[in-house]
């Protein structure tokens, strides 16, 4: 099962070599998320409209390896933006991917930028 995880590696903004134009801003729910596909990857993208901030992470939850995080509810815990997996409500920081209510492996996160009405996700390959 771990091989599913292997293709997801946290990418910091300095590592970005490709800004992939994923979709339009309107394609994502306000204060919620949706999933995009990039090559073999499923990436969950979240629009924190209240803060005018976007986050992206792997769509697969490291708990049971299902492609579901984009369908989770978002919010914050002590001002850390987070997503709650819809399966068992495992929560993850969208800043560093850390599991906030357990000791699951961290999720991979990716940078997001908005230009015009397009949403771009940064990848290193």
């Amino acid at each position: 099962m771990e091989e599913i995880l292997e293709i997801y590696k946290t990418t910091s903004i300095e590592d970005v070599t490709v800004w992939y134009k994923a979709a339009r801003v309107d394609d994502f729910p306000k204060n919620g998320g949706a999933c995009i596909k990039y090559k073999e990857k499923q990436i969950a993208v979240f629009n924190f409209e209240r803060k005018n901030t976007w986050y992206a992470c792997q769509n697969v939850c490291p708990h049971k390896m299902e492609m579901v995080l984009s369908r989770g509810m978002i919010g914050d815990q002590n001002n850390i933006p987070k997503v709650a997996c819809p399966m068992h409500k495992k929560t993850f920081s969208l800043v560093d991917g850390k599991n906030l209510n357990g000791d699951l492996a961290p999720i991979a996160t990716y940078p997001v930028k908005i230009e015009g009405d397009s949403v771009y996700i940064g990848f290193s390959e």
Partner: protein, 838 residues
């Protein structure tokens, strides 16, 4: 870097690693761990839960990557067979060697198999590892196939009872066979054992005391137990759970000192007879005793870590507390201190209630000043308080019997008076050794200000969880002492409970989540407060879940129940379970068209599983075109009103239960509430609709209906309580309208009606006053509110498929037409199921 090698990856071996990782000096060491089982350390204490749905992964003590993340080199399925103390090396079964500076033996114990002739026969098992459980399960399956279901468990101690529970969970007739004249002989006296026996027998298990087995009957396969008193017990399977034996073989061969009856001898630093070797857990013989509980094992790990890292003044206490509190076969059992003390300098005070099956005993010093120990069976809610009084040698009240009988006549609340009166070093959580001062300290120094925070910070209540109520009391009391208000707020974003939020939203007529959080909350919200507010707005304005998608609970957002592999299930409404053959054919065709796994639910309807997100609208369009509507199986809302066939067909029926159930289901369908709601209508007192297991149940009797409220099935089954007798249809509806709206307005989030009734002071009598006698002067308002909800009902699936914007959310990707390629189904009895979780 010094090398530390741990042999054994059980609960205590794992705890050693955890404590080591937490130590400041961890980076100076290289840690290698060997476990002979194929799995990482798992929770052996709750092993029987493996049969009630927990997976091996759920029982695991850590995540798959924990060892790697902490640079621990874990070797599973690798058995260490030799210790070379002179070269400071260990060797595995293949001869590979590893050197060490310090060696820690946490090899644990194996099941003790008494030398009874015939233990080698087929059908005889021990109960120790997940492999044992798998073998027992497989054998039980073949037995049941042959119609054989009698199974014995040898041993009526703690582990034996746990094993008997497992056997019962497998659907076998469990017989507990004990050599001693009572159950749990080390923890309970005769009175306690008798009460436990009565409770267990009431659950259908059989108990045979004073039985010594002479040999095991049968040729190759077990057929029964022959006792020495010439009686016998015919059984098809035997699970031996008669005690443990320390796994000291490798230590013994290497010349370490061991006890006469096994166990590696250690001193109070956990050191063995070799200065570089430590032993912890059930293999360690400390004070000439083997301690078969996890709490002392955890303490030993901590001592060993301190000793190895140079904190040599941290040693094991001379007296080890063997107090336990647990739930065995659904029965609360606790024993603490000198539970069986029988000396001249003490008096036992015993309370025995055969009606409610509760037994309590405390041993009090002759002068009445000290609590020496005690036993609780059937109700251990006072355990924490009693244990603290015993453990901290607190002065007893004038009449020590008040400790188990309560202070009759006056209401002084907790036994302890105020939890804050406990001494600072009182150990609150014995699994994790957390003291009162540690708990209060993290609040006082400002690190935490919630129960959740304190639990994360201190690890208190993360073991068995028995101390959680006391931890909560301490947190509340400490916060209060600091002048902070203690409220059961719904989460960190709102300083209100659900009822207060309900009133605020109603008063200010808020229609959007952002308005509520901007005016009355803080931050961006979370997965707790968002669905609560969505539900409150739905309960006030009859909004469907389509209104604000991002604050809906995940199931409500997609109007379907997410299942194990991230696909969904679909349940159309079939009011009261009545359906025409034509409509049933439609369901069959839909199931076939989309290749869905199909099952009849407990609520008398049909559930389709395995629908991909993108298939949901198509499936629902087909269903709606044929006259179906949403069944709200995904919502915290009315699910079904179950019915029996009633007087229309049944020769015993007193009234038309189906007609009335349809009327009630149509009336309350889609009603959003703090938790799910279920109803039932039975046509006579035979109660075939199981109405009393529902949030509301109606049963036809001579002269009308009896109305029962606040029952549920589930994890804590509870029968609904009688509200009114022999009332007509209109009165049932009137009372139900008022009751449901009152519950919706006042319950806590995710609190079902039974729990809610528990929290209403005055219980059902109070509810009668409110609903029938208008004690609060609210009934008119409640009726007006609920009728608004009923009149504004809309099928949210019909709404969804007519709206293109809503339809967009059912695509798996926003930038591709593709579907989730991660889904794998496997065949199952002519249908399909998701691939097993790995």
């Amino acid at each position: 870097m010094k090398k530390v090698v741990v042999i054994g990856n059980g609960m205590v071996g794992y705890k050693f690693c955890e404590k080591f990782v937490a130590s400041k000096k961890f980076s100076e060491y290289e840690l290698t761990v060997f476990g002979e089982e194929s799995r990482r350390a798992y929770d052996r204490v709750h092993l029987s839960e493996y049969y009630t749905g927990k997976t091996a992964e759920d029982l695991s003590m850590s995540s798959a990557t924990w060892y790697e993340e902490n640079n621990i080199d874990l070797h599973t399925s690798e058995m260490i067979t030799e210790i070379n103390r002179y070269e400071k090396k260990v060797a595995n079964h293949r001869g590979t060697t590893y050197s060490y500076d310090y060696l820690v033996l946490a090899t644990g114990s194996s099941a003790f198999v008494p030398p009874i002739p015939g233990v080698e026969k087929e059908g005889v098992f021990v109960y120790r590892t997940i492999e044992d459980l798998e073998a027992i399960e497989a054998y039980a399956k073949t037995l049941k196939y042959k119609g054989k279901i009698q199974a014995a468990v040898l041993g009526g101690g703690l582990l034996g009872l746990e094993a008997a529970n497992a056997v019962k969970e497998l659907g076998l007739e469990a017989h507990i066979v004990e050599f001693a004249p009572r159950l749990m002989p080390r923890q309970l006296d005769q009175g306690g054992s008798d009460m436990l026996q009565a409770k267990i027998e009431n659950l259908g298990l059989h108990i045979h005391l004073n039985k010594q087995t002479n040999f095991i009957q049968g040729d190759k396969t077990i057929e029964g137990l022959q006792y020495i008193d010439d009686t016998e017990l015919k059984v098809d399977m035997l699970v031996i759970s008669a005690g443990i034996r320390p796994r000291d073989e490798v230590a013994r061969e290497s010349g370490l000192e061991v006890g006469l009856r096994g166990g590696i001898i250690v001193d109070n630093t956990m050191k063995t007879s070799d200065d570089h070797i430590y032993a912890i857990g059930e293999v360690a013989l400390y004070n000439n005793m083997i301690y078969g509980l996890v709490a002392p094992g955890y303490d030993m790990s901590e001592v060993a870590v301190s000793q190895i890292t140079g904190e040599t003044d941290h040693t094991m206490t001379a007296h080890i507390d063997m107090s336990t509190q647990l739930k065995l076969i659904g029965t609360e059992v606790a024993s603490f201190g000198d539970a069986l003390y029988d000396g001249d300098d003490a008096d036992a005070i015993v309370y025995k209630n055969k009606r409610s099956r509760v037994y309590k005993r405390i041993n009090v010093s002759k002068d009445g000043s000290r609590l020496l120990g005690g036993i609780l069976v059937g109700d251990s809610s006072d355990y924490n308080a009693l244990f603290q009084i015993y453990n901290t040698a607190m002065k007893l009240p004038e009449n020590p019997e008040d400790l188990i009988l309560g202070n009759r006549g006056s209401d002084t609340g907790s036994l302890l008076g105020n939890v804050m009166d406990l001494p600072d070093d009182a150990q609150i959580c014995s699994c994790e050794s957390v003291s009162k001062s540690a708990i209060c300290g993290v609040i006082q120094d400002g690190s935490c200000d919630t129960l959740g925070g304190v639990i994360t910070c201190t690890k208190a209540a993360t073991g068995c969880g028995g101390c959680k109520p006391m931890v909560k009391d301490l947190v509340d009391a400490t916060l209060k002492s600091l002048g902070k208000e203690v409220k059961d707020t719904i989460c960190e974003h709102f300083e209100f409970n659900r009822q207060e939020l309900f009133d605020i939203i109603k008063l200010k007529k808020y229609r959007k989540y952002d308005d509520v959080i901007d005016h009355h909350g803080q931050g961006d919200g979370c997965e707790v407060c968002k669905p609560v507010i969505a539900s409150i707005m739905a309960s006030i304005y009859a909004d469907t879940a389509n209104k604000e998608e991002a604050i809906q609970d995940s199931n409500d957002r997609f109007l379907a129940n997410i299942q194990r592999n991230g696909t969904y299930s679909v349940v159309p409404r079939i009011p009261a379970g009545e359906i025409t053959p034509d409509k049933l054919i439609v369901l069959g065709e839909v199931g076939k068209k989309y290749d869905l796994y199909t099952k009849i639910t407990g609520g008398q309807r049909v559930d389709f599983f395995g629908a991909r997100l993108d298939q949901l609208p198509k499936i629902w369009k087909d269903l709606i075109d044929h006259g179906f509507e949403s069944g709200h199986a995904y919502g915290k809302s009315l699910r079904t009103v179950k019915s029996c066939v009633g007087s229309t067909w049944c020769r015993y029926g007193m009234d038309e239960s189906v007609s009335f159930a349809i009327e009630l289901e149509e009336r309350y369908k889609g009603l959003r509430s703090p938790h799910k709601l279920k109803g039932g209508v039975s046509g006579c007192i035979r109660e075939c609709a199981e109405a009393r297991c529902k949030d509301f149940g109606v049963i036809a009797v001579e002269g009308g209906w009896n109305l029962y409220l606040c029952g549920n099935g589930g994890a804590n089954p509870k029968h609904a309580e009688l509200l009114a007798e022999q009332i007509d249809n209109e009165t049932v509806i009137k009372y139900l309208d008022r009751f449901l709206m009152f519950y919706i307005r006042t319950a806590a989030p995710l609190q079902r009606t039974a729990k809610w009734l528990d929290t209403l002071e005055g219980g059902i009598e109070y509810l009668k006053e409110v609903v029938m006698n208008d004690k609060l002067g609210l009934t008119e308002e409640l009726e007006a509110e609920i009728s608004k909800l009923i009149n504004n009902f809309q099928c949210e699936w019909t709404q969804a498929i007519e709206d293109e914007e809503i339809m967009k959310r059912f695509n798996h990707f926003v930038n591709s037409e593709e579907t989730d390629d991660n889904l794998v189904f496997v065949p199952l009895r002519d249908q399909k199921m998701p691939e097993h979780w790995k």
